[in-house]
């Protein structure tokens, strides 16, 4: 393993920085949009409902895209350590996604489009907003989807080229013909190749679904005489939205494999259990979406049974592979609990706790009481905010810490941890309590006890954002105290290739 000791950033690092910085800027803006909505639900901030729902649309679409962009950039960099990738292609994908984000911002803030990022047909065409904003919103999401599919194709192509086709990338022979495999001196793909394979493969399927849906809706937008089957549209919408949102955290698992190994000063290798775990995740990620349609009694019955079983079993590979391996890395290691290590580790807690909330909601008898209540944002905020965002922040801090001459003081670390996590817990509990007491989600004005709970949640969110702001300041200080002589981490295995 030869690390590039060059202090000039390579194209790979440049791409990662571009994706991470843009993703985190959008995330920060969307956090403020979220805070605004919670304050409105607390009756502390008067917002007209059409503006509230435009903000809700922006927040949902913006957050999912922002976190996906962070995950895409980091994973792309990790794969490029093993095989050459075209930076111009991934920058093109970035440009398309950013154009899409601009479209979403214009459609919601200017056009007041409030059809939500789940835009269930026929709502986008039956709203209080002008027709052009529906079109701009749909075109924006189509652009995001094109950028996403370019990235997926590049990732899938990379792992297939690097590891000998689908059979090699899946580590098929490594699992089933271990002796011949080892006798031939072959190595299985590194752990981070599996998130790339699964994101590329499942992501392309979701992308094709989104293309079909997007084109159908755009045709309907151009010609109102076109009718679409609403159940068909609902299935396609949730298949795309669920798969895309779900893939983010699976992509970020790569950061655990590389980042936790670094923080704990241990090695993380591909094992048979890891490989089989990812095979099953590859399947479950695609199979689970139908749990969003439990309360659609016209949905074919077998899908309800199947998606409950599949939603349950999803927990097996996540806990038995990624989470368990991370715990084994940490157990009695020499971990230095820097902010980077803390955020990464805390993200695992968010993944598991959010997963528990999700499994309760994925149980049909409970779903009767929780479907479309605040329990839904409760669980997905736990693993998007308390999981995905913390993984990204942990990764960024590990990068900064690895090159900084400065060490974060104990007081600063304590403050960041106490404010960020303390505030986050209060904020998240608001959703869980609201959901359990039947407060519906997506209400500009909530029935009791919604507003009372939202007041606690708003205070929690403010405390959390103060913690995040301190973390940001600390991040800047780490960056300013960069030690030029430190080797870059993670080392790039190959020399920076010239652009082709």
């Amino acid at each position: 393993m030869q690390a590039t000791h060059s202090n000039n950033s390579s194209p790979g690092r440049g791409v990662m920085t571009l994706y991470l910085v843009s993703g985190l800027i959008i995330t920060a803006l969307m956090l403020l949009v979220g805070l605004t909505m919670r304050a409105a639900q607390a009756n502390w901030l008067p917002l007209p409902p059409d503006f509230f729902y435009a903000l809700l649309t922006l927040h949902g679409a913006g957050m999912i895209v922002a976190l996906a962009v962070c995950a895409m950039g980091a994973l792309w960099f990790l794969i490029r350590r093993h095989i050459e990738l075209s930076a111009s292609l991934v920058v093109l994908a970035w440009v398309l996604i950013m154009l899409g984000v601009v479209g979403v911002i214009v459609a919601t803030l200017v056009g007041r489009f409030g059809g939500l990022y789940t835009f269930l047909y026929p709502l986008p065409f039956d709203g209080s907003w002008p027709g052009w904003s529906t079109g701009v919103f749909l075109i924006g999401l189509v652009l995001v989807n094109v950028g996403w599919m370019i990235w997926c194709l590049q990732m899938l192509g990379a792992v297939l080229r690097a590891y000998g086709g689908l059979r090699g990338a899946l580590a098929w022979d490594y699992v089933w013909h271990r002796e011949e495999f080892q006798a031939a001196g072959r190595q299985p793909p590194p752990p981070e190749a599996f998130p790339a394979l699964v994101a590329g493969f499942d992501g392309l399927i979701a992308g094709m679904d989104a293309t079909l849906l997007g084109v159908s809706l755009l045709v309907r937008w151009l010609d109102p005489r076109v009718v679409i089957n609403p159940l068909w549209a609902k299935n396609l919408t949730y298949f795309w939205a669920h798969t895309f949102a779900n893939l983010i955290i699976y992509m970020l698992a790569a950061l655990i494999y590389v980042g936790m190994a670094h923080a704990t000063r241990r090695k993380y290798h591909t094992s048979t259990v890891l490989v089989i775990g990812w095979w099953s995740s590859m399947f479950f990620i695609l199979a689970n979406y139908s749990h969003h349609l439990y309360m659609d009694f016209v949905q074919p019955g077998f899908m309800q049974y199947f998606s409950e079983l599949s939603s349950y079993l999803t927990a097996v590979p996540v806990t038995a592979v990624t989470v368990f391996s991370a715990l084994m890395l940490v157990w009695r290691s020499r971990t230095r609990w820097t902010l980077g290590a803390i955020f990464l580790y805390a993200g695992l807690v968010g993944w598991v706790v959010g997963g528990i909330g999700a499994e309760i909601d994925a149980s049909i008898p409970f779903n009767l009481h929780l479907h479309n209540t605040l329990w839904v944002p409760a669980h997905f905020h736990t693993y998007l905010l308390g999981g995905c965002l913390l993984f990204v922040m942990g990764w960024v801090f590990l990068l900064l810490e690895s090159r900084s001459a400065r060490e974060t003081s104990g007081i600063m670390r304590g403050l960041v941890v106490a404010l960020s996590f303390g505030g986050m817990v209060v904020f998240l509990l608001g959703f869980y309590f609201g959901g359990a007491y039947g407060v519906p989600r997506r209400y500009a004005t909530e029935p009791a006890p919604g507003p009372f709970i939202a007041q606690f949640a708003t205070v929690g969110a403010v405390i959390m954002l103060i913690g995040f702001t301190l973390a940001f300041v600390e991040g800047l200080r780490l960056r300013w105290n960069r030690a030029v002589d430190q080797p870059l981490w993670p080392g790039e295995l190959k020399e920076a290739p010239h652009e082709g």
Binding site: Y53, R266, L368
Partner: protein, 203 residues
């Protein structure tokens, strides 16, 4: 203990167990360092048991939940019921104001425009049953009201700017000498097989 408290308790217990594991493992970094090979040797054994345990637990949970599914078997659909059409549209529910106590009601829920949700809240404000209201489709939801009082229907699928104010109040009244008239009720076509029911695992 009501449904909300049971759900929260279940969530908190499971989350506390998870937190305990994470905190213990983080705390272990204060102990003298252990070789990774040694950790893996013991860890893989625990992982094997965890894998088996969690898989069996989840499979058992799956089979345990099946009796509480709200999807009606064909035989249940034939049970006598008062059929009540419900039409949702932006931003009202068109349906009766009164329902009899202890009689099986079969709501035939549909929508005239976009997707809506039909969620019934009991006099205590608990969400006791729901189904989606979709254009072009009818969802059948069977509910028997055992408690007299003031109920509220709320829209549980985002439907536009008036979503939060889309609600309908109705009352459930005790046995009266003459059966309460059901203005919206009508014999429905015999060829439609109701495909759903609502059962409450907390009752």
């Amino acid at each position: 203990m009501d449904a909300a408290e049971k759900l929260l308790l279940m969530f908190f217990i499971l989350a506390a167990v998870a937190m305990f594991v994470f905190v213990t493992v983080a705390w272990s970094t204060r102990l003298p360092e252990q070789e990774q090979a040694e950790v893996q040797h013991r860890g893989y054994a625990i992982r094997g048991r965890w894998f088996l345990g969690i898989t069996l637990f989840l499979l058992a949970a799956f089979f345990a939940t099946i009796p509480f599914f709200p999807y009606l078997a064909a035989a249940e659909a034939l049970l006598p019921a008062e059929k009540v059409p419900v039409i949702a549209q932006q931003f009202v529910f068109i349906m009766p104001d009164h329902f009899p106590l202890n009689r099986r009601i079969l709501f035939e829920v549909t929508s005239r425009d976009v997707n809506h949700g039909f969620g019934i809240y009991n006099p205590e404000g608990q969400l006791i049953a729901q189904t989606q209201a979709m254009p072009d489709y009818v969802n059948y939801l069977a509910v028997t009201f055992h408690q007299p009082g003031h109920y509220t229907v709320r829209c549980l699928e985002y439907c536009g700017v008036g979503h939060a104010i889309m609600q309908k109040d109705f009352t459930v009244e005790g046995a009266s000498p003459t059966p309460a008239p059901m203005p919206m009720s009508q014999p429905s076509g015999t060829n439609t097989v109701p495909s759903s029911n609502a059962s409450n695992p907390f009752e």
